[in-house]
């Protein structure tokens, strides 16, 4: 027995809306779905006329529907927005390369410009390479932390006013549950906000905050939108999976519970006496961080030093690892100096006999070895100094480009002495802030462009 559409339009209903239980036909559903998002955008004042907005696009259902609806509404209600797509390429073969094809299709279908930023360009590492280093256990930490920052950087490059992400109501409810289970009170407070972003950062908005996943999927299906729906090849689906399974079981019994959880999140507050980590600027990369040095920089540091586990776990552990590393480096340095001294003696002998520095020998021995003590001093002016200077690797250039200083020692190119430019990488902040605050293990929604952002 067909059920008539609730609006009284005369057609038969095609779906039951989870939020209200109302049954609608296809056409009335399209209108209701889009109008609700319009209501969210205008009531919460997400955009201003003339804004440039980057839509975080992963090729998945949420971002595809978001891009489609934003384009539709921008035209229908004349928002005057300049919409563009922003994608992050983590470098995951067999997953992201495929989904990027979907994003490119979105670009053509919706006639929006598309910017793709890769981890390789930003950090010098692809996820495939990182997984080769770290294994599959903690790779989602890297992916999540890097992605969060990558979007910020991409948005900065595009010069947009804000980033719109595809978080839907289910995602937000799930995150509320997850933050309770993890005891992450700081995120619990933030995760239901429709618009996030502290000073100095590009705000992120969630136009689909009150839109159920079920309706997004039905909308995409009825509108025949093309989206990509494969799990990330690395996604272990750990903790978020539990919260997600619970939420889906609950939704089955009482679909309104997703909105109820969001309302719970909206009306909860952290008690005054509870101290939260304050947000500040990472001293290295200048992006927002709850630590002196942000998690992305710590992770990158670890990768580049061959200590991939550096950023996993607590900051005290990181410090210990770094201390061990430095001790070891120092020992290596001492050994090398000894070696060098021997060599230098030979060179000096050479210099004296030939009146000509064999700089090649100098250079070879010096490569990668950075120390106040240098053959330059002893070469008594006969060396061509500029040739002796170690030319740093590509990694260094990258680090410099993003203002991430290589914390070891740098060579002062125009003086006689080689000096320490950077003091040791500072992990010594005494605040008892857990570095895990920045941690974001991936989720069932790995590959969900927005899922790791802003929470």
């Amino acid at each position: 027995m067909p059920i008539p559409c609730r609006t009284g339009c005369g057609k038969n209903a095609m779906l039951k809306r989870p939020k209200t239980g109302d049954a609608l036909c296809k056409e009335c559903f399209f209108w209701a779905f889009e109008t609700e998002i319009h209501f969210t955008i205008t009531k919460a004042e997400l955009f201003k006329r003339g804004d440039s907005v980057a839509v975080a696009a992963s090729g998945g259902k949420d971002s595809t529907v978001l891009a489609h609806v934003l384009k539709t509404l921008n035209e229908r209600y004349d928002y005057g927005l300049n919409l563009m797509l922003l994608s992050i390429d983590e470098g995951i073969t067999g997953y992201r390369d495929d989904s990027l094809e979907t994003v490119k299709r979105n670009r053509d279908d919706y006639e929006m410009s598309l910017k793709i930023l890769s981890y390789k360009d930003l950090y010098g590492w692809t996820m495939d390479e990182i997984v080769a280093q770290i294994g599959r256990k903690n790779n989602c930490t890297f992916c999540g932390v890097f992605r969060r920052q990558a979007l910020d950087r991409g948005a900065a490059m595009l010069g947009v006013k804000c980033i719109a992400t595809g978080h839907n109501a289910d995602d937000i409810a799930e995150t509320v549950l997850m933050n309770v289970l993890r005891g992450d009170i700081a995120r619990l407070k933030r995760c239901t906000a429709i618009s996030t972003g502290s000073e100095g950062t590009i705000p992120r908005v969630k136009p689909l905050k009150y839109t159920y996943e079920k309706e997004i999927v039905m909308y995409a299906h009825y509108k025949k939108l093309v989206y990509f729906s494969t799990e990330c090849v690395f996604a272990p689906n750990a903790y978020r999976g539990h919260a997600r399974a619970l939420l889906k079981d609950m939704e089955k019994i009482r679909p309104t519970c997703i909105m109820d959880i969001i309302y719970s999140g909206e009306t909860m507050a952290v008690k005054e006496e509870v101290t939260l980590p304050t947000q500040r600027i990472c001293t290295r990369c200048k992006f927002v961080s709850s630590q002196e040095v942000c998690k992305a920089c710590v992770l990158l540091e670890g990768l580049n030093k061959g200590l991939p586990k550096l950023g996993i776990g607590k900051s005290s552990k990181a410090k210990r690892m770094l201390d061990e590393y430095n001790t070891k480096q120092e020992q290596n340095l001492k050994d090398a100096i000894k070696q060098l001294d021997n060599d230098v003696e030979k060179i000096e002998n050479n210099c004296q006999s030939n009146q000509k520095c064999r700089s090649n020998l100098c250079k070879n021995k010096r490569n990668g070895l950075l120390n106040k003590k240098s053959c330059n001093n002893k070469c008594s002016g006969n060396c061509d100094r500029t040739k002796v200077i170690v030319d740093n690797t590509k990694v260094d250039n990258l680090l410099a480009k993003y203002a991430i200083h290589e914390p070891v020692k740098k060579i002062n190119t125009d003086g006689n002495n080689i000096v320490n430019v950077d003091e040791d990488f500072d992990t010594s902040d005494n605040e008892d802030v857990n570095i895990d605050q920045e941690d974001d293990t991936c989720s069932a929604s790995c590959g969900k462009m927005g899922s790791l952002i802003g929470f």
Binding site: T7, V180, I185, L246, D260, I261, T267
Partner: protein, 383 residues
């Protein structure tokens, strides 16, 4: 393998890793109970306390812990003047009787007296006469049937029904406490139960009430409900009951038609596989408050209603959803026929009387209990 505390043989495993001997284990549970009361500094000496019993595991252990506490001397003595209460009227008459008799026997073995109170009498019939101690009052008048809690809740969906029942129970506790001149109430929720309650609270929109529903003290009323078992886990209860060979009834039944049950199953599984998580969940609860402490109270659950300061919340979003599902595109686009803001059940609002008379969840309960709501909500609303 040795006990974690002393060098005796450990026979009890806690959280799959810590071994305890029986003696140290019992000391630790008693300590947790006493420390919980002590550190919260809400209960001063020699106060009258109404202890609410159910006959279940945690209630059985609470009774034993109180008895032990009262027996101690000097500084270790638990200084309260306890009154005991057991509510009936939730299930089938026979089961109800069996449980009540068990509770009477439990109390007798400690030489305590207990009031067996029918919830419908106190709550719906507004009786304020305490029954004789240790006796079961018969209930079968026509009036009793009409106001039977079970009958009233029969047509309400199971999730709302559970919630309403809890609220009515708490209200009844307070009514009885008033009659006994108690300013404090003890209930027996363990860490595990509270973790379930926290997630349930979130799932039905009572997030802003977590402080009162999950914390040590519910201070929404002058008469405060305290939860002295809040640091004890279900695992510890099992051990305690076995060691002391205490009789109790099992009331936990998992169903798949209500949120509370599904959450309970989830937390139990969690307890099994991630034992630290349950206490994490409860510690989180201690840090959660509400965005606003307004004086306006929900008529049903007495919680502060949260006034709407945000530009957009789940309430407007849901109501808007209802609006666009109820009207033609044409009606909506036309300024004159555009529906106004929905405020009550007659215009299709999903949240009748919200913020005026009810909090979010109670407003939903009111709507969902449909025609049955007369008995539940009649005195709270304007005529």
């Amino acid at each position: 393998m040795y006990c974690k505390k002393c060098k005796d043989l450990g026979t009890l495993t806690i959280r799959k890793e810590h071994l305890y001997c029986v003696k140290c284990f019992m000391i630790s549970v008693n300590h947790k109970f006493r420390a919980c009361i002590g550190k919260n500094k809400i209960l001063s000496s020699n106060q009258k306390v109404l202890v609410c019993l159910t006959g279940g595991q945690s209630s059985t252990v609470l009774l034993d812990l109180i008895y032990n506490g009262l027996l101690q001397d000097n500084h270790k003595k638990l200084r309260i003047i306890p009154f005991f209460l057991h509510l009936t009227g939730f299930g089938e008459k026979e089961t109800d009787h069996k449980v009540a008799e068990l509770v009477i026997n439990q109390c007798k073995s400690y030489k305590f007296n207990v009031y067996i109170v029918n919830i419908s009498k106190f709550y719906f019939q507004k009786s304020n006469t305490l029954p004789d101690i240790n006796s079961l009052a018969e209930t079968n008048t026509e009036q009793d049937l009409k106001t039977n809690l079970k009958n009233i809740l029969k047509k309400v969906n199971p999730t709302s029904s559970n919630d309403i029942e809890t609220k009515i129970k708490h209200d009844t506790f307070r009514r009885v406490a008033k009659e006994c001149q108690c300013n404090f109430i003890f209930t027996a929720e363990t860490t595990t139960t509270l973790a379930v309650n926290l997630l349930s609270n979130l799932a039905i929109g009572r997030g802003s009430q977590v402080e009162y529903d999950i914390g040590f003290s519910d201070s929404r009323d002058e008469i405060k409900i305290l939860r002295p078992m809040k640091d004890i886990t279900v695992e510890e209860l099992h051990h305690y009951i076995q060691i002391k060979n205490l009789t109790h009834i099992s009331i936990d039944k998992i169903q798949d038609n209500n949120l509370q049950s599904v959450i309970k199953q989830f937390v139990w599984d969690l307890q099994e596989n991630f034992p630290a998580t349950v206490s994490t969940v409860c510690k989180t609860a201690d840090k959660i408050g509400s965005i606003d402490k307004s004086d306006k109270r929900c008529q049903f659950c007495k919680s502060a209603v949260v006034p709407n300061n945000e530009k957009l919340t789940a309430i407007e979003a849901t109501n808007f959803s209802r609006t666009v599902s109820n009207f033609h595109l044409g009606q909506y686009l036309n300024e004159e026929t555009r529906p106004k803001e929905l405020t009550n059940e007659h215009d299709g609002s999903m949240f009748p009387f919200i913020n005026e008379y009810f909090c979010y969840c109670c407003s939903k309960n009111y709507l969902e209990s449909g025609n049955q709501n007369n008995n539940l909500f009649k005195d709270m609303l304007p005529v």
